[in-house]
């Protein structure tokens, strides 16, 4: 112990002194005598050291040691994902700035983007040839988006209020998952193992691609919009006259209308279909009730509507909102004097 060093030490100096902390912690019992005699001989230093001791005791930060099984499980998960990742090669070195290139590469390896808007109730896995392992279920709460990596390395971005479930381990020749809600997929290309997404009556099949699937329960339609590549969309349609499957390529969207029991192809607006990934809330001629549902999901709030408020049934709302606070949108909606609102944490009252 360098006694001179401590002569003018104040409380903070003791707190930050590794030797002092080690001694307090009982890690240096051989220094007990040195410290004790120094403290006896330096009354001013002793007051500071006493304060420092209180501060150090108060700063006992609690941590959590993960279970060995958790570490094992997380390593296995990573190892599976690693197997499908092609490390960047040296030719691509010049453009390996950050993640942009990584994303482009993923898009190239997997060349389709697809968006589906979906109808009706929650769907369960269709019950065929499952592995003995219980399926994994990942969900995003309202007001939340999540990135998930599937066992084959496929990346999934879940939009708010969505659930995706998949087997802990995919079969060699088939990758099947189920989705409720909306998600953007970047599927790892595997020639002999098609990737199939079940969303109720509509099934989307790809070999390797990126795409977005929207299958929220309250909408009546299903839409599949392809940004790049080719995707096959099939629907269970009762009428034999209607086509029940279509192949989509770049810039095309398939719409499944539940009421008409029809599957049609059309162009689509990119902001509307996949803008959500970049924080854009997009509303197109949305009536009052569906606007409220979308806001609840996007912001993770509960919106209570006073029963005396009678919304105009012909009212429609359109707009694209990039990272805007909820109050901003409500102010646009209420203009000029349609209703008033109050926000208390995650509860919104409209009257």
């Amino acid at each position: 112990m360098e006694e001179q060093k401590y002569k003018h030490f104040k409380c903070n100096d003791f707190v930050l002194d590794d030797d002092f902390r080690a001694w307090l912690d009982g890690q240096a019992p051989e220094k007990n005598h040195l410290w004790e005699s120094w403290l006896l001989a330096n009354p001013a230093g002793r007051i500071e050291a006493e304060k420092a001791k209180t501060v150090i005791y108060a700063l006992q930060i609690k941590g959590k040691k993960p279970e060995t099984e958790d570490v094992d499980q997380q390593w296995k998960r990573l190892e599976t994902a690693m197997a499908t990742v092609k490390p960047l090669t040296s030719e691509s070195k010049e453009i390996t700035y950050g993640r942009i290139f990584t994303v482009l590469k993923w898009m190239a390896a997997a060349s389709i983007v697809l968006a589906v808007i979906f109808a009706t109730d929650r769907y369960l896995l269709s019950g065929r040839h499952h592995t003995a392992l219980a399926p994994v279920e990942q969900r995003s709460d309202n007001g939340q988006q999540r990135d998930i990596i599937l066992p084959d390395g496929t990346r999934v971005k879940l939009n708010a209020g969505s659930v995706v479930s998949y087997p802990a381990q995919f079969a060699d020749n088939l990758r099947e998952i189920t989705l409720t809600g909306e998600a953007f997929f970047q599927v790892v290309a595997m020639k002999n193992a098609p990737f199939i997404i079940h969303t109720g009556k509509v099934t989307t099949k790809v070999l390797g691609t990126s795409f977005n699937v929207r299958a929220y329960p309250e909408t009546d339609d299903v839409q599949v919009a392809v940004v790049e590549g080719t995707v096959k969309v099939s629907a269970e349609i009762s009428s034999l006259k209607q086509k029940n499957s279509v192949c989509l390529t770049k810039s095309e969207m398939a719409t499944f209308e539940k009421k008409r029991q029809a599957l049609t192809i059309s162009p689509y607006d990119e902001a509307e279909q996949i803008g959500w990934k970049d924080g854009v809330l997009y509303l197109e001629k949305s009536d009052f009730a569906s606007t409220i549902i979308k806001l609840e999901r996007w912001y993770g709030v509960k919106i209570n509507i006073n029963k005396d408020l009678k919304p105009d049934p012909t009212w429609r709302f359109s707009g694209s909102f990039h990272n805007k606070p909820l109050g901003y949108i409500l102010n646009v909606m209420r203009y000029p004097n349609r209703f008033s609102y109050s926000i208390h944490a995650d509860i919104v009252n409209i009257q």
Partner: protein, 239 residues
Amino acid sequence: MGNEVILPDEHSENLKTGVFKGDPLWDSLKEGSNSAFEKIFRLYYPALLNYGLRFHKDEEEIKDCIQILFLNIWERKQFLAASESVKSYLLASLRRLILKRKKQEPSFVELDSDGSDTDKEYSGFNIELSVEVKIIQDQTLRENISILQNAIQNLPDRQKEALYLKFYNEQSFGDIAVVMSISTRAVYKLIYKALDALNRELAPQTKNVPFVISIFLSLLFSTPPELTAKAGPLASLLE
């Protein structure tokens, strides 16, 4: 210590970071070693998970972030820069990833304060404090500790984060600077500001009940207050 900022003791800083220089595991990873990658993952996973949970209570979200972080490293392993401190590099990368994803989440926290958004990049750093109060016999010390712990919880998030990295992770000022992407001087400022605030809580002028009692007692026994103050600490230091 007032607000004066003391520059780091060069010698001890170098000794600490020197441990990591040219980490052989990191070098093997760059050469493509799977087993080195696994060792790195297993070695740093606990610290990464613990740190991540300070930003976000959702454990699954943090685990996803750690997966994405390591997968990105594996993809780019050939081009990894030599890292002086693998731990700081990983913590810094995880921090960026978590904050980026937090920012993408539509946030409604800012709404209830009239849309006046505070530090947007930063929304909370939660630390849990523990002390085995039972083993501390001294009543005054126990009360002071709980006053301080209360004060620690009320410190600004960035100060709490710096304290966490310093006293829980036991990282050097230079490493903390890397993790938080600020200068070493800024780390000193954060930590000294936090410690000064805690010092003020311990100052006798503040409503320190045990101290008032000790004055009262010392008046009773007509002993100068200073003497009691000195006798007390010594006794408990030597406990």
